[in-house]
């Protein structure tokens, strides 16, 4: 007994490659502790500043490790280009959400330290998820990202909607997790391995393609992941949760969770389950098509911007899946490229919604009316975001969709490209009214269109601008500018996501 134990050694850890994760989790601890300090100014401003510093440090570490491919902790995690890119997206989303949450009521209510450290822990979980090469690590990562998000959704303690959103997310998310875990258990039962590489070897060696247990495992894994990535027909929680959660949290969830989920889908299905491609491809194709249709049709006629964007995110997830089902390097590149442009557009839109919500107390499309005249920066950013999500040329969204359709055609699934185009055409019917609402002149001057109350001349609007916060405007402006720049000069984007599969499956 003792002789066996004596041979137990700690796994070799490449600390340099591990450092981005440590940046996030260490940041979470520091932020939590600083959140305990008594001066109010440190809690309200020092804590978010430290959060941004932690995300920034992580981005720095990523750039330092840019060309590395290292297998970590006995192949439980891997740092390769895909991990680095997903982590980068998560960190950018984290910085933007922190800026949006700077004067958020929710952060005050559950204490700043908790709010922002939960944000950092969720981001860390996303990185673990995207980097994992082992079923156990994958599940740990998934829970690490889900649990903080459940709390963050319910963080407006005095809002019934927010609590409902948190509870709904908790219950549906748990069902998703349980399904996924059951799938993983069967996968382990079928192959006797938890390691992605080991599963791959076993599936090929035992010829498990088409085996009943293996099929059941893949099926439950797909369902579990589809729950998390909010893909139709497992999407019902999305609109309610997005609407009820504090807007900065919604922004983070919609962008970062999707990036992490797509990251793990690409890694799991491109490596471990690759031999079973004919088994799982039809399932993902069906989910992609249903998501595109349900998302786009569901968004029509929504009056709440957050609900509309929730349905839109379902459709966007459907587009993203097209890059997965072709199972080519071009497909993987298109997925990551689309994740980038989706991030830019969604963050810009949610930044504008955050500002308007603080000014008018509502996230209805009507709350944007007349914004073009009052705040051209916000209205411009929102316009660019909507056009980009719809995929209009000269915005980054066009480049993203172009790449996805190119990947679909290249992989022999031209008809899926056509589905994307049809979906985008439907989507114009709900994106464009938002743009129209902002730029149409106010019909009744002096009356706030969102609330119907009389607006006091001059002073009230200045007070409004004060309440909205310049940080949120900054996020909207930066993201909007990026949409435009990358829409016209997409070359840097192509270079960023090029070689996304570099180092994929080493170790």
């Amino acid at each position: 007994m003792t002789s066996v134990l004596a041979s137990v050694k700690g796994p070799e850890i490449d600390w340099a490659a591990f450092s981005p994760l440590l940046g996030l989790f260490g940041g979470a601890l520091i932020v939590l502790m600083v959140g305990l300090s008594s001066p109010r100014v440190i809690r309200a401003h020092g804590v978010p500043a430290l959060t941004i510093a932690a995300f920034g440090a992580t981005i720095g570490l990523l750039i330092w490790e840019w060309n590395e491919q290292v297998s970590l902790i006995q192949d439980a995690l891997i740092l390769d280009r895909l991990t680095i890119l997903i982590t980068l997206l998560v960190c950018v989303a984290g910085i933007a959400s922190t800026l949006l949450a700077w004067r958020e009521q929710a952060a005050r209510e559950i204490a700043h330290g908790e709010f922002f450290s939960l944000l950092l822990i969720a981001a860390g979980g996303m990185v673990v998820l995207a980097a994992s090469r082992n079923l156990v690590t994958t599940f740990v990562g998934l829970e690490l990202l889900s649990l903080p998000l459940y709390i963050l959704c319910a963080s407006r303690l005095r809002s019934e909607r927010s609590l409902e959103s948190g509870l709904k997310y908790l219950i549906v998310g748990s069902v998703g997790s349980a399904t996924l875990l059951y799938g993983f258990a069967m996968l382990y039962g079928a192959t006797g391995e938890t390691d992605y590489a080991g599963i791959l070897t076993q599936v090929v060696k035992e010829g498990l393609m088409g085996d009943a247990l293996f099929l059941a495992a893949i099926g439950m894994t797909i369902v579990g992941l589809a729950f998390k990535a909010s893909l139709a027909p497992f999407h019902q929680w999305t609109p309610d949760v997005y609407e009820g959660a504090p807007t900065p949290v919604t922004a983070f969830m919609s962008v970062a969770t999707k990036a992490a989920a797509l990251g793990v889908i690409v890694r799991l299905f491109f490596t471990a389950l690759l031999p079973g491609v004919d088994d799982w491809r039809p399932a993902w194709i069906a989910i992609a098509v249903i998501s595109i249709l349900v998302g786009n049709v569901g968004a029509l006629g929504q009056r709440s911007l957050k609900r509309m964007l929730a349905f839109s995110s379902i459709a966007q997830a459907g587009y993203l899946l097209v890059g997965v089902v072709v199972v080519t390097e071009l497909g993987a590149e298109a997925v990551v490229l689309y994740l980038v442009v989706y991030l830019l557009a969604n963050l810009a839109a949610f930044a504008v919604i955050t500002v308007r919500e603080r000014e008018t107390g509502s996230d209805a499309i009507g709350s944007l009316r007349g914004l073009g005249a009052r705040s051209p920066i916000l209205a411009g950013a929102m316009t660019l975001a909507m056009l980009s999500l719809a995929g209009i040329p000269a915005t980054a969204g066009f480049i993203g969709k172009f790449r996805l359709i190119e990947a679909a055609a290249d992989g022999g699934y031209t008809w899926l490209g056509i589905v994307i185009v049809v979906g985008s055409m439907i989507s114009l019917a709900y994106y464009l009214p938002v743009v129209a609402a902002m730029w149409r002149p106010d019909t009744e001057p002096g009356v706030d269109p969102a609330t119907g109350r009389a607006v006091l001349a001059g002073g009230a609007q200045e007070a409004e601008a004060e309440r909205g916060g310049w940080e949120a405007t900054l996020v909207a402006a930066v993201m909007g500018a990026a949409i435009l720049v990358f829409g016209i000069v997409p070359q840097p984007l192509f270079e960023l996501v090029g070689d996304v599969l570099k180092g994929f499956g080493t170790g």
Binding site: T2, A6, V8, G10, L29, L36, A111
Partner: protein, 118 residues
């Protein structure tokens, strides 16, 4: 193949027999002097009297929850404590990191005032 499961089957059979035997023997041999308190579920000989609208402080829940959290996390220390010499330096460092994290949590709970009885 089946012989592998033989101990389990023996266990189930024995468990069933003994369980039934004691229940039946109790009824046959024991004296029966019922009182309302004894007929209550979970009686333990005490009159269980819970009035509707019974209230007790929410602090109970908080403290119980914190106790569970720390208790279960400390549980992980036992196996390491037993075999620390065999595991060596790596396990020691891991344990110290683990306790450090627990301490951070404890400090947080304390400073947030969750340990003060309200």
């Amino acid at each position: 193949m089946l012989s592998t499961y033989a101990p389990a089957i023996v266990f189930v059979v024995l468990g069933t027999i003994i369980g039934i035997a004691f229940t039946v023997l109790n009824g046959v041999l024991g004296t029966s002097r019922p009182s309302p308190a004894k007929l209550d579920p979970y009686e333990s000989g005490m009159a269980s009297e819970i009035k509707q609208g019974f209230r007790f402080g929410i602090s109970f829940y908080l403290v119980a929850m914190l106790f569970l959290l720390f208790d279960i996390e400390v549980l992980f220390l036992y196996p390491i404590a037993v075999q620390l010499r065999a595991f060596g330096t790596f396990a020691l460092v891991e344990t110290i990191v683990f306790i450090g994290l627990l301490t951070v949590a404890l400090i947080y709970v304390w400073r947030r005032g969750a340990l003060t009885w309200k």
